[in-house]
Amino acid sequence: MLNVASRNQGTHNKIQFCLDGVIHGVSDFDPTLSLLDWLRFQACRTGTKEGCAEGDCGSCTVLVGTLYDDRILWRAVNACILFLPMVDGKALITVESLAKQDDMHPLQKAMVELHGSQCGFCTPGFIMSMYGRTIGASGTCNASLDDVLAGNLCRCTGYGPIIAAANAISLEQRDDASDITRLRSIARKEMLHLIYDDPLAGIQRHWFTPTSVSQLSDLLLSHPDARVVAGATDVGLWVTKQHRMLDKIIYLGEVTELNQLIECENEVVIGAGVRYNDAHAALYRLHPDLGLLVRRIGAVQVRNAGTIGGNIANGSPIGDMPPALIAFEASLTLRLGDVRRTIPLEKFFLEYGKQDRKTSEFIESMSIPRPKNGDIIRIVKLSKRFDSDISAVCSAMLIRLEAGRIVHARIAFGGMAGIPKRAIHCESQLIGSDWSASTLELAAQALAKDFTPLTDVRGSAAYRLKVAGNLLRRLWLEQDGTRATVFDVEAVHG
């Protein structure tokens, strides 16, 4: 049962958000209702579409605006896996927001004129992703169009006309003044706590949005059974696909301290609530390969919601980021009540589906040491599709040389075991040996002692083992600085 204290901490059974200049209040609803279903079936704004209900196709893309001091940061997100309470205090833009009466936005005109739609079903999502880019929404600055559009699938056009339309549009400054005023008027001063008696599930549902880490820590002590949600890019699917009845959710998105990222001289410290896109630049500065890895995790919409903390906490065997972070010897700070402990990240993953997290404990931050100058670093993600795919194999290699000998080696893989894991035999083979092709060959062969990978839809065991070794072999040929992959070359001229 809930204690009285936490009930009193929470306010209202109602959330508020701003859409097209109107403040909407929604109360007495299932807190796992998606923003998409609210838009389509409560607000009858059917321009936003459901293509997959799992955050992969982008047909439901909308922009969510968060007030930071005196400006709004817009983020393109997948409305299908965004729980409605996550937009409390936010501003929204949907495809219906863009045209003013008969006057379409230049982007819409360009899409018409350049034949960017065929069946039209994915179009609203594309419009929103592209509109996000025109107003400098999160994750779009300096990003290629391929990257900006990677979260939107189109099955008709082949993308050319859409890219042409996006290219035809100049960037613009969106006037957010009135939305800023409205958002200030609905800014929440205390924790949100929603309670909903769900007749369908036959349960009482609770949603908490703590605003400070101490509130979070207290909540987890009083509700050890609560599900902690950051971006909901995974938990959202538990609801849309598995129909799991989540009765208590604690949402991290508004916990100020967890949203901090600090770049120190020797390390980068990332709060557990920091979204991928908000960490992207800092990770790129830490090492370009880390930045490129982030660019291939999900797509803009997923990176605008998903967090590295969430990625670690859910303990996927692929683990988008963990192999790289393990190679960099990242550490994890967990907190239980007021007690913190810091462990090497690799120790967090115990076995498939099992992590070293105690009841009521949560990840507060991770710290990634900066590599040393001259370290040989290579992070490679292999997947069927370049963008928005889950790796068959993800490898991260960090090798340090002194006078032509390997003095330090950290080789970590995702997709090779039940957890993201170091290749200990491979590392032993490397450390103390000459930096040479034959050393790498022996190290590649040692992987067979480290891993017995599985066969699944992403790749066979044989492929995984072979390609993992090949990544070590290829490292030798890449060391002169020419890292030509298939993604870096152009057609011949003839």
Binding site: R45, T46, K49, E50, C52, E54, C57, T94, V95, E96, Q108, V112, E113, H115, Q118, C119, G120, F121, C122, T123, P124, L145, D146, A150, L153, C154, R155, T157, G158, Y159, G160, P161, I162, I163, P199, L200, H243, L382, S383, R385, F386, D387, D389, I390, A392, D456, S460, V467, N470, R473, R474, A484, V486, F487, V489, E490, A491, V492, H493, G494
Partner: protein, 779 residues
């Protein structure tokens, strides 16, 4: 094509559909009819219609086994789940329990036996989508599991056929093969493909007065749904109306597969008297609906020193799934396209159609053609590797030409232009120079290898089931000069509606804004064929042309008589009607015709001439004409990882005299990318129990923006004209470009070959995933 070229070609795009075109609208590069609605989020799809108050939401209870007898079905928990209103099984179906198009073997709800994982067993109607989906998982079902054939080889071993093996043959292959100077044998597996229309399957059924039923469906084939539902509910077809305004993509996946959901909705609406909507979950959609057939091809080919084929035997085996669906025609079309552009003097094409305990495979853009074409293109590549020739030279050596111009099914190829297209493309793409440079690159470079390939396409146009080649249209002209256009074709994004509107506006000489497009409805045009086989514009465009011409001629005759001028001096153009030297507005003429009691409404009909086919002998002229095109693709592969990327693609495609070059280019570009996905990243994986493991976009990867070739140059072939009298001498363009993507697969093959240097072709199967590419480098 870079943007500049694209814009140049599409000069005229400022005439959006809502504006006035001052001259003939035919051949204008106009925007899609709904483009403005699309970009504003105002185009209404089935799920966007306002929901009725008492609307019920549906979900299927689905089989967990590939092949099993249902011993008992306990639905107690399903019925008592919150918000459930009703649950139905096969016993509740008043009439025929069938949603299949040809054989009556596709059950709406399983009747004691299940034959694939995901097969619907019962149907839940609830007050919300979630309530229905939750309840659907609560049944307690006792199965007696039976042996299941999942793969092609399982079924082959078991001799499990869905229909008799078909043979098409000319001459005696074995003696010719034995005599040939060169002879090679090989095989290739060609994977299936999920349609991944962005709008999932959906239908709403609403009971109407006096036992009527109105269905809003996302379907390529409203008439079939009408007829199936009438038989299911023991009604007349006239009692059932099916409407389709637009689909959010279909690609063949809503030709027969939409019927399941529409029939389910109609059953519930009939039983409960309440409207019912079935919006299928994406994962369920991918599990429950059929896909492109996967094929296994064995070839045995004899050829001379120039690579010219003396004799070839092609043996196809395809996974048809649990029921017949359209597998007969699909596999026939694979046989029809096993020649592609090549004269096969002595030939035997054998086609095994295997019954497996997997979802019934179905129509998908190309309809078997792509698989047939892949087979022969594989043989071309194999011959080239064997002779160490440029594969393009082998292809050209085998082209149809005078005296070598009869297909294996006895049709004379009268309109062959691919030799000209290939010649032009070879030059414009700098194929030879690039091939030389690539050879140099491959010698010098370390672990990246490139490949380039030019492959042609010849695709037969017409339904091979001759009867289907008919269409109707209905046009009303109102006294204000506005025109309402209806025809039997459905809009799935392919631009059919705008093309037909252009044709009609042209007949009346009015701007496009005068023509209002209306939904395909079975109560307006009856007994339509599916919008399929690329035939939409050929059939419906001509039917609408005939309807419009009928009305225009009536008006013209009336006006000519009234004004005492010769009929030839009545000219409809620029929104006006010239009556001799007098100028009248179209509106005025319509009003006068009305006052003169002239009918301003007409149907129009068209049936394709010349075609005939005898399936027993596999001889005849199944096609009115062929569409042609060619593509050059350059790829690069990483020999350490197997990753590949398409660096450049050049396409030259023959759309005849294009009715709308913008729409046609869109079909070419989109079709190519879809084909590229089929042959590269899109992999369907079933486990040994017949469960589809790749049932969501997280595991099934269609191309993204970044998969598009880095450089793309697409042109419609300027001299293109249909030698047959099709509507404005245009050519069908929906399916053929998909097969241009075979150039990508061949280029990857070339790249692998350059790394292995072997005298036999790399053993690469489709799709060429990184894993397949890497493993083929070993062989």
């Amino acid at each position: 094509m870079d943007n500049a070229t694209r814009s140049d070609r599409l000069n005229g795009i400022q005439h959006s559909v809502a504006q006035t075109a001052s001259k003939s609208t035919v051949s204008e590069a106009l925007a899609h009819d709904s483009a403005v609605l699309h970009v504003r989020g105002q185009a209404t799809y089935v799920d966007d219609s306002p929901e009725a108050k008492k609307l019920l939401h549906l979900a299927f209870g689905m089989s967990q086994h590939a092949h099993a007898r249902i011993l008992s079905l306990d639905l107690t928990a399903v019925r008592s789940s919150p918000d459930v209103v009703a649950v139905f099984t096969a016993d509740d179906i008043p009439g025929e329990n069938n949603v299949g198009p040809v054989a009556k073997d596709d059950k709406l709800l399983a009747d004691g036996l299940v034959e694939f994982v995901g097969q619907p067993i019962f149907l839940v109607a609830a007050r919300s989508v979630l309530a229905a989906r939750i309840a659907a998982k609560l049944a307690v079902i006792e199965y007696e599991v039976l042996p299941a054939w999942i793969t092609i080889s399982d079924a082959r071993t078991a001799g499990s056929l869905i229909e008799a093996t078909q043979r098409m043959k000319r001459g005696e292959v074995d003696p010719e093969l034995a005599k040939s100077i060169h002879r090679i044998q090989g095989s290739i597996e060609i994977g299936g493909q999920e349609h991944f229309y962005l709008e999932g399957q959906v239908a709403v059924a609403t009971p109407t007065e006096n036992r009527g039923m109105y269905i809003l469906s996302s379907s390529q084939h409203p008439s079939e749904i009408q007829h199936l539902i009438a038989r299911m509910l023991c009604r007349n077809s006239a009692d059932v109306t099916v409407e389709v305004r637009r689909m959010g993509g279909a690609f063949g996946g809503k030709e027969t597969q939409a019927a399941l959901f529409a029939a389910a909705a109609a059953l519930v609406a009939d039983k409960t008297g309440q409207p019912a909507k079935f919006r299928c979950d994406r994962d369920d959609d991918m599990i429950v609906t059929g896909k492109r057939h996967d094929f296994l091809v064995d070839y045995d080919v004899g050829f001379d020193d120039r690579g010219c084929i003396d004799a070839i035997r092609l043996e196809f085996a395809s996974r048809c799934g649990a029921t017949l669906d359209l597998s007969s025609a699909i596999n026939d079309r694979a046989m029809f396209h096993a020649d592609n552009c090549y004269y096969l003097k002595t030939v035997e094409i054998i086609s095994h159609r295997l019954k497996t305990h997997t979802v019934s495979n179905t129509a998908f853009r190309g309809f078997g053609g792509p698989q047939g074409m892949m087979a022969i293109e594989r043989a071309m590549d194999a011959i080239a590797v064997h002779l160490e020739f440029d594969p393009l030279d082998v292809r050209i050596a085998n082209f149809y030409r005078s005296g070598r111009d009869v297909t294996p099914y006895g049709m004379k190829v009268e309109d062959f232009v691919v030799d000209q297209i290939v010649q032009e493309l070879r030059k414009s793409s700098a194929y030879d120079a690039r091939r030389a440079e690539i050879a140099k690159f491959n010698l010098e470079q370390g672990f990246l290898k490139r490949g380039i390939a030019l492959t042609p396409v010849k695709f037969g146009i017409s339904f091979t089931t001759t009867v289907l080649n008919q269409a109707g249209a209905l046009i009303h002209v109102y006294t204000d000069g506005s025109i309402q256009l209806n025809h039997g074709g459905t809009e799935m994004g392919q631009g059919l509606y705008i093309k037909v509107a252009q044709i009609v506006a042209d007949v009346f000489g009015v701007p496009l804004c005068k023509v209002r497009l209306t939904s395909a409805r079975t109560d307006k045009v009856p007994n339509t064929s599916a919008t399929a086989a690329s035939s939409g514009t050929d059939l419906n465009g001509m039917a609408a042309y005939n309807a419009a011409t009928t009305i225009r001629n009536r008006i013209a005759e009336f006006i000519a008589a009234r004004h005492q001028v010769e009929l030839e001096r009545i000219v409809f153009a620029n929104g006006q009607v010239m009556v001799g030297n007098e100028r009248h507005s179209f509106e005025e003429v319509c009003r006068i015709a009305y006052l003169g009691r002239v009918s301003l409404s007409s149907t129009g009909f068209y049936s394709t001439p010349k075609i005939h086919y005898d399936r027993a002998t596999h001889q005849g002229r199944p096609f009115l004409y062929f569409a042609y095109g060619a593509a050059v693709s350059e790829v690069v592969i990483d020999t350490f990882t197997g990753e590949s990327r398409v660096l450049r693609t050049d396409i030259l495609h023959d759309a005849g005299r294009s009715i709308n070059p913008a729409i046609d280019l869109g079909q070419v570009e989109g079709g190519f990318i879809q084909g590229m996905g089929w042959l590269t990243t899109e992999e369907l994986v079933y486990d040994s129990k017949g469960r589809l493991l790749t049932h969501s976009p997280s595991t099934y990867k269609i191309p993204c923006a970044s998969d598009r070739p880095v450089e793309m140059n697409i042109q419609l072939w300027k001299p293109g004209i249909n030698r047959e009298p099709t509507i404005h001498r245009s050519k069908a363009v929906g399916e053929p470009p998909l097969m241009l993507a075979i150039s990508v697969f061949s280029a990857i093959t070339q790249a692998i070959h350059s790394a292995t240097g072997s005298r036999t072709i790399p053993s690469l199967n489709a799709p060429a995933t990184p894993e397949r590419v890497l493993l083929s480098l070993d062989k």
